[in-house]
Amino acid sequence: TDTIKIGFHAPLTGFAASDGKSSTEGAKLAVNQVNAAGGVLGKQLELVIYDDQAKPAQSIPIANKLIGQDKVVVGISGSYSGATRSAAGVFQEAKIPYISAYAIHPDITRAGEYVFRTSFLGEVQGRAGAKLLGDMMGKKKVVIITLQNDFGKSLAAGFKEKAADYGINIVNEYQYSIKDRQFGSIVAKVRADNPDAIYASGYYFTAGPLVSQLRAAGVTCPIIGQEGYDSQKFIEIAGSAAEGIIITTSLDRDSKVPETADFIAAFEKQAGFKSDMVAASGHTAVMVAADAIKRAGSTDPAKVLAAIQATDLKVSTGTIKFNALGEVMKAVQVQVVKDGNWHHYDVIDDPALLAPPAE
Amino acid sequence: MSELLTVQDVTMHFGGVHALTDVSFEVQDGEFLCLIGPNGAGKTTMLKAIVGAIRPQKARIQLDGREISGLPTHRRIHLGLALTHQIVRPFRSMTLKDNVALAVGHRRIRRVWTALGGLDRNKERAEALKLLEMVDIHTYADQAVAGQPLGVLKRLEVARALALQPRLLLLDEPLAGLNHVEAAHLADTIVRINREGLTIVMIEHNLGEVLRVGHRLVVLDNGRKIAEGLPRDVMQMSNVRAAYVGKEANDAAA
């Protein structure tokens, strides 16, 4: 064959279609960039994309198709946890390397040595959130608002795990579902709790309404979010209420690092909308795969695997290295909304705190 | 003759409507009893209470000395009751024959698990055809129920009830919707079945036929029993005449 195929699945239809779109555009950008620079091993990269609707029952046949029919060299998930975790098992069994771009389920990499993740685990980011709130901002009386899915739950778990270490007193925790856009009763109760700060997990489409409703009700304390907020859409939805919201994420908008700055500019040019964390993660995963194939000098899965394990690559979301389990080790970016845009706030680079599980 | 059915103090109120108030009567074994009364007197309600399709506020109903007022409908049917509806209720997705065949096979479907036992329906279908023949609608046997004229459906109700091999057959206006020739013919059939030993309670407004075939009358009005007795005697009672009887019945009774 005259191309090297990389398999990619993401939710292009259904409820998660917006994230699917972002991650796909990010991945496409990476392929275009690699190809423009001459491809790998003298061949062009080809991205084989399938829609999984973020459903496990769909991603299993897709994984089998990518492996059995398309004969991809590496598989990449631009999808959510459920679809990623079940596809991971298929790739592991077939011994084809597989990289999860931004799914956060802790068991994904535990499928086996062929499975990697280029983003943070939910727990890791939750711990970073605790440090940010308790240590760096010095807030002690905190209310948690948790999105009821794997993402929100693992963030909350990580946050709670480290909260006491930083002197945080969690006065209450409320939960909401991913379908909720009206938070009237939670807002009323939070107002009564009168916390120093709020740690609220969510995606831009839930966090936008949540933040603006909290602010409208006169809740003025700091609100800390995570990479789910990380989209220009969040600022559009929340409007002026977005000002001053702080999040932990993997993309630094003010970065002077060329890889990041280039990505942000190139993405907007190609996709026609501003980049976000999901897009950067899709981009990163493809970059890692291309780099590994290049270094392996071959498309042999075992050699590619070894090359991925040895990754030390600077990309849009930072410097990627993997631990023994296949989890990424990199710094957490802290961003804040200022004048209607994401900006640099701080970096958390504490290897002990951010250490992902190694088995 | 012994009493087959005893109805005591049946009271059924729908909200403010007193459909039945303390109605009692008996039905003798082998008897042909006619239940008559003005529209809205509570006749249909009475039959429904007897089979358990509705639950009266108060009731003591005994079939052959056994209290049945607490039993669900299907149990009462097992004990030998059968009802035809005033407003026809066939199984609209089945043919006429299957409507009856299912009732013929009532012993097979009595228990859920034994119903799993057999596949053959031919014997029951043949029996069903005979019953349809008895009420003169066998030519329609393999047609769908939908679109059949009322008179055919009325007779289908009767055939289906007979298929249950009841000891007591409750008929709610079986002759309505038939012209007088058809009505007389169906009435004859019912009389024949009665002669063969089946006890019958029939509601009917066709007084000509009622007086021709009934052994005894029970008259309801406004949810109460106002008269009971031999047809000729009852027809002479002034309260019955006032509540119910019109010109035609006067002619018939005369």
Partner: protein, 286 residues
């Protein structure tokens, strides 16, 4: 104080539900169809309202125009989708409706993009404060809107000849024609009103969250069904009360039993409990 606030929030949720559910209950009352695609019309209303408001800068224009447009789409849906299958068993219309709803959601995504749209300058966001309770103008508008719209509808159905014609059509459409009632017009009107109300609800919701998404019909698609069942299917006043009750149950439930059951589960647990006690719903027709 907190309870009062939760109660108010519950009533706001409930008012929202009521405007959505009443159209559904009208359709059910008239045709015995579980019209899931109603939720698609709700989303369409959100899109139309937002697009018109953004381009004209006026919600006063955006909301009624969206309502009228969606009302007409509702009429078309009746004519094209439901009328030919009215005499089929109920699940036929239900599944056709689900198919239609899925197709509508996908159409929104393909036409308007997957990310959702926002107002350039969201109206009705100013905050009103009294007795320590903060409400946005949009909150008040929702409650006022639902009470007045449903009140008007209830008057229309109980006190006018058109309402009488509507009820006669429910009982026996064929014979209604024989007394000079145009059944087709009654049904068109029914779908027009119901769909226009769904659109109004869609616009209100989009103002609450400043967001219109392809999937925004998801929650109403099933929860509205629960509400009309609670309200006793086909009963306008019952639907209003059931909506408010459910809104309040959810408002308190998410706070006090949110870690045992999620919001949907709370709503449906309530529904099941009510149905086990009253199988005809809170407000039966008979």
């Amino acid at each position: 104080m907190l309870y009062l606030e939760l109660l108010i929030q519950g009533l706001i949720y409930g008012s929202m539900y009521a405007i959505i559910a009443v159209g559904l209950t009208l359709v059910y009352g008239l045709l015995r169809i579980l019209h899931v695609a109603h939720a698609g019309l709700f989303a369409l209303g959100g899109y139309m309202g937002l697009l018109i408001t953004n381009s004209t800068g006026s919600l006063i224009l955006g909301m009624p125009l969206a309502a009228a447009l969606v009302g007409v789409v509702g009429m078309a849906i009746y004519r094209i989708c439901y009328q030919p299958i009215l005499d089929q068993p109920p699940y036929v219309a239900l599944i056709a409706s689900i198919g239609l709803f899925i197709a509508m959601e996908e159409m929104f995504r393909l036409i308007f993009g997957p990310f959702g749209l926002t107002y350039t300058d969201a109206p009705l966001q100013s905050v009103v404060q009294f007795a320590g309770i903060y409400l946005r103008t949009v909150d008040l508008a929702i409650v006022a809107g639902s009470v007045s719209l449903l009140g008007a509808l209830s008057w229309l159905s109980q006190k006018t000849r058109i309402g009488l014609a509507w009820r006669a059509t429910v009982d026996d459409p064929q014979i209604a024609e024989s007394f000079g009632i145009s059944v087709l017009n009654v049904r068109y009107l029914n779908f027009f009103i119901g769909s226009a109300l769904a659109a109004v609800a869609g616009v209100f919701i989009s103002l609450l969250s400043n967001l219109v998404e392809p999937t925004m019909g998801g929650v109403p698609s099933y929860k509205a069904l629960a509400i009309i069942v609670l309200g006793g299917l086909g009963n306008v006043a019952g639907t209003l009360i059931a909506s408010l009750v459910l809104g309040v149950v959810e408002a308190f439930g998410t706070i006090y039993i949110g870690d045992i059951l999620d919001r949907d589960a709370i709503a449906f647990a309530f529904l099941i409990i009510v149905l086990m006690i009253r199988p005809e719903g809170l407000f039966a027709r008979r």
